[in-house]
Every structure is written in C-alpha cells, then in structure tokens.
C-alpha cells in the first residue's frame, strides 16, 4: 500500500527470498556454526596426536587447513553476501514487514551486528594466521583458542537471529506489549535454537566428511583417520538432532501445524502430510549409515557415497526452512500483519472504504465499468502479488483452474463468491481486504488474465503512478481542511 510493488511475475517474489535465504542458512549452519568447532576439534586432535618432538603433524594440519580454506572462501563470499541478500530481497518483496521488524528488533539486530563483526574479525585471524601459528606450541594453542572463540561467536550470531525468526512465527506476548524483550522470549525460541544447534553440527560434519573425501589423498593414513573422526562427529550429534526435532515439532502452535501440509510447496495435501517427518527420518538415517560406515570402514568411503546423504541432509534443512517460512501463513508477522503485507488492524477501514483509496500507488482510484480490469490489476498487485503470479509459480489462473477445472473458462460470479470466503476453509489465505466493487474488479481481472495471458510487471519495469488521493496536493489539502475544521 505504501511502497512501490516490486514483482517477479514468473519466478514468484517469495521464491527470490527463499533461494537466497536457504543458501545462506546452508552455508551458515554447514560451514560456520557446525563446521568451525569441527575444524578446531580436528586441529586440536592434530596437536594431541603429534609425536612428542613436533607441534602438530604437518601433513594432518595441512589437510585440516585446506578444509578450512574452502569454508573460509565460501563463507566470506557467498555466505556473507546471501546474508546481506536476505535484507535486500526482503526490502524489495516485503518492505512493510521487514520495516516493521526492524523497528521492533533494532537492538537485537544491532547486537547481532556487533557479534557478526567480531565473528568476521575472528575468522580472518583464525584462517590468515594459521600457517604462522605452527611455529611454536604457544602460538598453536592460542590459534586453537581463537578457533573456539570463533565457534562461540558463530553460534551466538545464530542464537540471535533465531529469536527474530521465532518471533515472526509466533509473536507471543508482543501483541499487547510491543516490546523488544517480549518478542525475544517468545515460546518457540528455545526449542528452535535447541533444534538448530545439533542440526548445524550434523551438517557441519557432513560438509567435513565430503570435503575430506574430496581433498585427502586416496589411500593415505590421514584420510582414514579424518574420515573416521567425521563419522564420530556425526554419530555424536545425530541423537540430539532427533530429540530436538521431536521437541520442536511438539511446541509448534497447533494452528501452524494444521497448516503445515499446505506449506510444503504445491504438493498434494494428503500425500505429503508428513513429508517433513519422513525427510528428517530418512536424511538422519542416511547420515547415520554413512557415519557408522565411516567409523567402521573408513578406507572404503568414496566421494559418491558421501554425496547422497549430504544432498539429503541439505535437502532436509532446505525443506525445514521452507516449511518454517510457509507455516506462518496467513500471516507474515503472526497476528499483526498478513502475508499480503496489510496489517490486520487496518482491515475494517479497507473493508469500509476499499483498498484503492489508501493505496499510494495505483493507476485507478475510482472504479468504473470501463476501468474494471485495470482496477483489478492494481488490486491483484496490492493484495495477491506477494504470493501469486499471473503466469508463473503459484499463478492465480492455476490455483483457480485447479478448483474449477483446468482449461475451463473461469466464471467471475463463482470467483467473487469464493474469494471473500476463502480464508474460512483455506486457513493459510489472508481474508480479502477490499470492498464488493473491488472484489468484482479482481475477478474480472483474473478472468482477463486467463483469456489473454497478460503478464504483470512490477514497478522495477513499469515505474509508478501516484494515486492523486495520496499525493502531496491531496495531503496538504487534507491538513488544511482539518485545521480549518478545528478553527471553526
């Protein structure tokens, strides 16, 4: 309503955030939170297992260093930039929600930033001083200590961001107090953190196993040892993953759980009802199998054997994030803002006067019979386009044709009958905010889209048209009228 609407009509706007965010989470969990303690542990093992006349075994140390180098390069490029990318994409797709969250969570994010700066400084020190630290025992032990510090700071970064994510799913008592701490200590926080910690360790171990099997020289003694250690690491953390997943599942609010099945993409409801559960069980079992194998028969572990469970575990994290993201529906900030970026508290006003009146940018502000389709297009952009496209992923014609018959001409009366009630049966949908004329305009537009395949371009292509009712002229007049009313 208040921001120009960026829109990707084929890819889907949410998809943009999802791709960036999931990539970021995989790198953050897999190559930072879970990987750094794993690497530091291995570096320490190198010192511990070294002969008495050497600081560490150089060949072993070089292997661990090489693994760290991969993590260093990836985390400081793709990892860092996808982190920033979440901000960028959210600003484009979801400006009202990210803008609101920033105001509530400013200090959490600011603290996060300080921790994050520390983390970057520590990773630079840890990686760039690695070679030099091999000169004396004292330097090596200090270097290992830096590794542990880095691990702790990576974990704190995650712990803070999880608070914010948890808030978005269930704002707890924030509704009434609207304060920072009531947001932080929402009921999902600890279970989610408890779940993410061992999961990160598991994925870190899987990355470790994969990198070892690629980097370490075939048949070398160190390859065997490193693979066995990776197996042990994974075995240690897996039970925690299972326990934590069970707890997390059980505290998710009932309403969200009920939505869960629809959350998993566009898959059919009943077939994938338990998809997350099965993905967790199967990926964790696969991880267990390869871990046990790595411990018992480390010599026989090949790259391809690791790749399958690795992909599964990554997929598990990806699906977990996607489900977590989608089960918020119909809200983007639980109980406060719907996924169409409209605040629940403003609904009565929109219902009363219509939404176009309050839209800052629209090409139509008064609906007539002639501009009905054009008006519908604006309404679609304002109320549907955050989740639906016209032709692409989760397109509006697809969702209606799936109900009324694929290829059948859509009927405006049926759609106008359905849209105001859709949130009743389909609880993941926000209620339609507009008035009756806007509803009919929207149905006419959807029919038009089906007939013409007309794409819907976002403001990044078309630019904006200011609603004369919300221009400077109109606002100045409104303020003057108010003043003169007061005087009278």
């Amino acid at each position: 309503m208040d921001f120009p609407m960026f829109h990707l009509d084929w890819l889907n706007d949410r998809f943009l955030i999802a791709v960036i965010a999931i990539l970021h989470v995989i790198i953050n969990h897999g190559l930072a939170v879970g990987f750094i303690p794993y690497i530091t542990w291995l570096e320490y093992k190198g010192v511990k297992n070294a002969k008495s006349d050497e600081i560490t075994n150089i060949e072993w140390d070089t292997l661990i260093y090489k693994k760290m180098k991969v993590a260093f390069i990836i985390t400081t490029t793709i990892g860092a930039m996808t982190g920033v990318g979440i901000w960028f994409s959210a600003a484009l797709v979801s400006p009202s929600s990210i803008g609101s969250l920033i105001r509530v969570f400013f200090w959490a994010w600011f603290t996060e930033w300080i921790v994050f700066v520390t983390e970057v400084v520590l990773i630079l020190i840890y990686f760039l001083t690695w070679k030099n630290s091999n000169k004396s025992m004292k330097a090596k032990m200090r270097h290992i200590r830096f590794g542990w510090f880095l691990a702790i700071f990576s974990w704190i970064t995650m712990a803070l961001i999880v608070a914010i994510l948890g808030f978005m799913m269930d704002p707890g008592s924030w509704h009434t107090t609207k304060s920072f701490f009531s947001g932080i200590f929402n009921p999902i926080y600890l279970p989610q953190l408890f779940f993410r910690t061992p999961t990160a360790m598991l994925i870190g171990g899987m990355f470790g196993l994969l990198l070892t099997s690629i980097i370490a020289k075939k048949g070398s003694e160190f390859r065997t040892t490193a693979i066995r250690y990776a197996g042990k690491w994974i075995l240690f953390w897996t039970p925690f993953v299972l326990v934590a997943a069970t707890i997390y599942w059980s505290v998710m609010p009932e309403a969200m759980k009920a939505n869960m099945s629809t959350a998993v993409g566009t898959m059919e409801f009943e077939l994938y009802y338990d998809v997350l559960k099965y993905v967790i069980i199967s990926s964790v079992s696969l991880a267990l199998i390869i871990a046990i194998w790595a411990v018992i028969k480390p010599k026989t572990v090949k790259v391809w054997m690791v790749i399958v469970p690795f992909v599964f575990v990554i997929g598990f994290l990806g699906i977990f994030e996607r489900v977590r993201e989608f089960i918020r529906k119909p809200y983007v900030i639980g109980g406060y803002m719907y996924s169409n970026l409209l605040r629940e508290e403003d609904y009565p006003l929109y219902k009363q006067d219509g939404i176009l009146k309050y839209a800052t940018y629209t090409t139509v502000s008064e609906i007539t019979e002639e501009n009905k389709v054009e008006a519908g297009k604006n309404i679609f952009m304002l109320t549907c386009s955050r989740c639906h496209t016209t032709q692409g992923v989760n397109s509006i014609t697809y969702v209606f044709e799936r109900m009324y018959g694929v290829g059948q001409p859509l009927d405006t009366t049926s759609m106008s009958g359905y849209i105001p009630n859709m949130h009743v049966g389909r609880t993941y949908m926000p209620p339609f905010p507009g008035n009756a004329r806007e509803l009919n305009a929207l149905s006419a537009y959807i029919k038009h889209v089906q007939q013409t395949n007309e794409p819907l371009e976002g403001v990044q292509v078309t630019g904006i048209k200011v609603n004369p009712k919300n221009s400077v002229t109109a606002t100045v007049k409104m303020l003057e009228d108010k003043k003169s009313k007061k005087v009278n």
Partner: protein
C-alpha cells in the same frame, strides 16, 4: 511544492522508532563512514593491483607490489561488507519509506548487487590464489583482476543511484528502472567524488602498509625501496585529493536546491579548509627530502579524517533538509490514517454481527440454506460438480447418516483421487452443523 500532484505521500510504518532520532542519525553517520573507508580501500586497492600488475609485465617488482596489495583486498572486503550492515540497518529504520521505495524502483539492479558482489569477491580470491599457477599466463591472470575491477567500479553506482533517488520523491513517478534513475543529473558527479576518495584513502593505506617497521620491504622487493613504495601512496593520495577540489564543486552545483540551507556551508567549508591543509602536507611529503616523507603522515590522516567527518555530516544535513518537508507530510498523513483506521475498527466492533440472510420460504431448512450459501457455494452446486461433488451425491452417501455428514464437514479426509481435498470447517458450531446437514439432506436426488 511543484509537481506536487505527482509526488506521493505514503504512510509510514506506524511503529515508534526504536531509539531517539538523533542517536540513530549519529549511528548512521559513524557506521557509514567506517564502512565506506573499507569500501574505499577495497575498490582503490583493486584498481591499484590492476595497475601494478600491468606495470609489472615490464618490471617484476610492480607485480610483487600488486600481489602485496591484492592480499589486503580480500581482508578489507570482508570488513567492508560486515561494516555495511549497521548503516543499512540505520537507513532502513530512519528512512524506511524513502529507501525501500528507491530500492523497488531500481529493483532488478538492486538485487543484482548480491550476485555481482559475490562474483567480484570470488574473482579476487581466484586472482590471489592463482598468482603462482598463472605466472606463465599473465594476461589471463590480469584479466581476472580486470573483471573484478570492472565489477567493483560498477557496484557503487547502484548504491549511489539508490541513495540519490530516495531523496527525490517528486521524481519517483518519472523513473522506470535503474537506467532512468542513473540519468538524474547528480548521480555521476557523486560517483566520481566517491572514486577519487577511494583512491585517496587507498594512497594513505599504501603509505601506512609500507611504513610499518616489521614489514620486511627488503626481503620482498628487489629494486623498489620503502621510500619508493611510500611515494606511490603519497602521489596517489595527492592526485586524488586535488581532483576532489574539481569534482566537489560539480557535485555541489548538480545537487537540486531543495536540500540546501545556509547551515550546510559550515561543515562543507570547514571540510574543504582542513582538506587544503592535508593537500599541503601531501605536497611537502612528495617534494620534500627523502627522510622527511613521513613527517606529516599522522597530521594528513587526521586532517582527512576530519574532512570526511565534515563531509559526511554535510551529506546528512543535505539529506535531512531535502526530506524534512516531505517527512512532515508523511508523519501527518500516517497519523490521520491511524485515526481513520481506529475509527473504522471501533465502528466494526460496535456493529451488530451480520445476520444470516435467510429465505423464510424455505421453512425449517432456511437457516441451513443460509449457512450453506455462506460457506459452501464456492465449491458445491446442487446438481453439478464444481470444485467438489454435487449435493445430490452427498445425499446418496449420508441419507441415513446425518452424524457422519456432520463429522465429515467438521474434519474431512481425502476420498476421491480426482478432487482436491476439502478444508475443515471446524469453526461451525454444532448447532450450525445440525442445521447445515438438515438442509443438505433435504435436497431431492
């Protein structure tokens, strides 16, 4: 205000700022300057690396110099990114409406920042870690850096277009994508202003890097001396600073008048005055005796830091003045919107709940029919399949089992492969369910 019919007044986010505005402004300025200094050495460093490597084709020592600078880029770039988060957070909070609107209007290019920076970073790593391996394929190695420099030069332009566009809501309606926002008159002068400051800061960075006592210049270079290396830095800083005296006035002239106030001249002129001092000391360092080259280094850094703080404050003053009248309108309108919204909420809460519109002619199933109309007609018709099966089919299944029908509506399962599953209607009361099933089962097959 001219163009005022085309200038939007959006509503702001109706939540309090999380900290006093002045504190947010201080945080924004300080954190932004810290960020931009590292961006400067990152961009300037990459340009210098490219220069050194090309010169190094003839004189090996310059290739070594390029390598030494290259090693710092990958560190500086990580710090530049992480320091950028705080000003991003502050500008998002302080200028939510303006910043996000500019982002959306240049949306595709704005989001391209992410992959472009990532690629630039990966290229600098590739370049750094293939120095030996590509030694006999120097041009390939140089082109990797060339590509990375090209990206580093382009990306700041996207940021500049955004922070510039956000200042001018009256221009928003005339913008169609990044390219048209790029052609606003003041973008390019500001860009060159930034580039020169990058080179100046990088020059000072090179001086500092090579004057460190424990930095073994003699071991690393064969012909270049410590003095020679420092001179490269001083020359660069001097040249770039002098160029700023030409570009600065162009920036000032090209900025639209709406952000100017007499007060703005105080920080700008103070900044210029201090910069004049810095340039004098730089000149002395370059032309003076060899042993005195570092005599004024501390003073130069301090003077240029003060200049940067003055200019940063001036930049903020311009922004504040430019946006103040519009911000006032936004605040007033937001307040009015909240009042209207509150009023509508109260009205809605006091309004009688909407009565079901019943058709009395239907007799005892009238209420059920009304409930059906409200909840079911979008998917079910009497005799034809719509989304779900027709009512007549329900009758044949549940004719003698109204309880079963009620149960189904309350919590449906999946029965038919060629139909989508029905959502649960758990919100209907038991009474409603009784009325509803009574109506459904009253339909004649």
């Amino acid at each position: 205000m001219f163009l005022s019919i085309k200038t939007p007044v959006p509503n702001d986010i109706p939540l309090e700022l999380p900290l006093p505005e002045w504190l947010l402004v201080v945080l924004l300025i300080v954190s932004f300057l810290a960020h931009i200094v590292f961006v400067n050495v990152m961009v300037g460093g990459s340009i210098l690396t490219l220069w050194g490597q090309i010169k190094g084709l003839k004189n090996k020592d310059y290739d070594v110099f390029a390598h030494e600078v290259a090693k710092t880029i990958t560190v500086n770039k990580s710090i530049a990114v992480v320091l950028g988060v705080a000003p991003l957070l502050c500008i998002n909070t302080l200028y939510t409406v303006y910043f996000y609107s500019a982002n959306a209007l240049t949306g595709l290019m704005w989001i391209l920042i992410i992959p472009l920076v990532t690629i630039a970073f990966l290229l600098t790593y590739l370049h750094k870690y293939t120095w030996e391996r590509l030694d006999d394929n120097k041009w390939l190695h140089i082109s990797i850096m060339g590509l990375s420099v090209a990206l580093f030069l382009f990306i700041p332009l996207i940021f500049l277009v955004n922070v510039n566009l956000m200042l001018f809501p009256e221009k928003w309606q005339s913008i169609q994508g990044f390219l048209s926002a790029l052609t606003l008159p003041n973008v390019l002068p500001r860009y060159f202003h930034f580039l020169c400051s990058s080179l100046a800061v990088t020059g000072l960075f090179v001086v500092w890097y090579n004057k460190r006592k424990n930095y073994p210049v003699e071991e690393i270079y064969s012909s270049l001396t410590r003095y020679g290396l420092k001179r490269i830095g001083y020359n660069l800083a001097l040249g770039a600073s002098v160029a700023q005296f030409l570009i600065g006035p162009i920036v000032a002239v090209s900025l639209p008048a709406k952000g100017y106030s007499w007060g703005l001249f105080i920080p700008i002129l103070c900044g210029v005055a201090v910069a004049v001092l810095a340039v004098r000391w730089l000149w002395k360092a370059v032309t003076g005796p060899k042993e005195d080259i570092d005599k004024n280094f501390g003073k130069i850094v301090l003077a240029l830091t003060i200049t940067v703080v003055f200019m940063g404050s001036g930049r903020h003053m311009y922004r504040a003045t430019a946006l103040a009248p519009h911000q006032k309108l936004v605040a007033a309108k937001t307040k009015e919107f909240q009042r209207l919204s509150e009023e509508a909420r109260t009205n809605a809460a006091n309004a009688k709940p909407v009565e079901l519109i019943t058709d009395p002619s239907l007799g005892e199933v009238a209420k059920g029919a009304a409930i059906f109309k409200q909840n079911c007609t979008s998917c079910h018709k009497e005799r034809e399949k719509l989304v779900g099966p027709p009512m007549t089919e329900m009758v044949s299944i549940y004719e003698n089992d109204p309880e079963g029908l009620k149960k189904w509506i309350n919590a449906p399962g999946k029965k038919r492969a060629d139909f989508p599953q029905m959502p649960a209607f758990a919100q209907l009361s038991d009474d409603d369910l009784i009325e509803l099933s009574k109506y459904i089962l009253s339909i004649k097959k």
